[in-house]
Symmetry: C2
Subunit: 204 residues, 2 copies
């Protein structure tokens, strides 16, 4: 056969599944999700794009929703949790910078899981725990820090809407304008809507 020398990637896939290999599966799942939606994601497709056999997939995960749920759980972006610039406005500016960069991928992913999430309990929990909660939790923590620092009052009526606003606009722009909500757009939104509503000065 072929001389399987240094490239462990292309030719021989006979070794046990390493963590890196596992991540390749997950990446393929997420990519196919974004491109074609949940229903058009097929086990055959994942197998083909990762050059494994269906047997391998079904050995590791029982069913298609479980594979997808597992893939979602690797999405845990803890990036937002690390942000702490010392001011609420500064934190949120960092948030929109990150969100704008990941706008396309996250938006498509959410869109793809739209209704599938309503049918499968495990899928719903995976999406919430792995994607929604971490990001939204981080934002709400920023707001709480802002309250503690006295930047905004604890019962500011706009406080409850910060995360919904950001997530909402992120998903709304593609529908309204046909373009992703990139960082400049999100920044304009933050400075001219979110921060003013909170009583904080926006960069004009």
């Amino acid at each position: 056969m072929t001389s399987q020398s240094a490239d462990a990637v292309s030719s021989s896939r006979r070794s046990k599944i390493t963590p890196e290999r596992e991540q390749e599966f997950y990446d393929a799942v997420l990519q196919q999700l974004r491109e074609n939606g949940y229903d058009s994601l097929t086990m055959e497709g994942v197998a083909a794009s990762t050059r494994c056999s269906k047997s391998t997939l079904y050995r590791q995960w029982k069913t298609k929703p479980q594979l997808v749920a597992a893939a979602l759980r690797t999405c845990s972006r803890t990036s937002l949790a690390d942000i702490d610039t010392g001011s609420l406005a500064g934190d949120l500016r960092e948030v929109v910078r990150h969100a704008g960069e990941r706008s396309y991928k996250d938006t498509r992913l959410m869109q793809a899981l739209g209704h599938a999430v309503l049918q499968d309990e495990e899928l719903r929990r995976a999406l919430r725990e792995a994607v929604v909660e971490p990001e939204i939790g981080a934002i709400e923590e920023m707001v709480r820090r802002g309250v503690r620092r006295g930047e905004i009052p604890a019962d500011h009526p706009a406080a409850e809407f910060v995360s919904a606003q950001l997530l909402g606009v992120l998903r709304a722009r593609p529908l309204l304008e046909g373009r992703d909500a990139d960082t400049p757009y999100l920044t304009r939104f933050l400075e001219s809507c979110v921060l003013p509503a909170l009583g904080l000065p926006g960069n004009t």
Copy 2:
């Protein structure tokens, strides 16, 4: 009219398709869309729930996406276009009242069409022209009227985000809190975020 006996519905459906009957098809399509998503919407299902045969469906519409597109085009709720209270704040309060009532149906519908819309050109146009454009156009017209009346400056930076904010929050709440964005929620959002960002006084 065909004043058959009392039960024109259950037994014999042999008459030609009246406009009312046609609307029954569309309603069934939209309902199944909202309940199960686009991919799980089946011609068999529509036929069964409307007690017609598949032949009839395929005689009227060539394919499944065309049936769905036709159903979408009957959604044209021009209700928002009729709103004109004399002030921007008043107009928007009417908008959230309507939107809150239709929240569940509209949100689910958008969610259901998520990725299908990316695959089929006709479907995409139908959704835009029948659902998105009318509502968003009405809101933007309200903003323009507000500018003409001098309520807000023409270049107010928050003006471009009014429709995106409302649509976004409408779709975001179910994801974040697991509940629909009803009228009270939308009203709070309007008074504490949208109006303040525009420099208008919100009802506290």
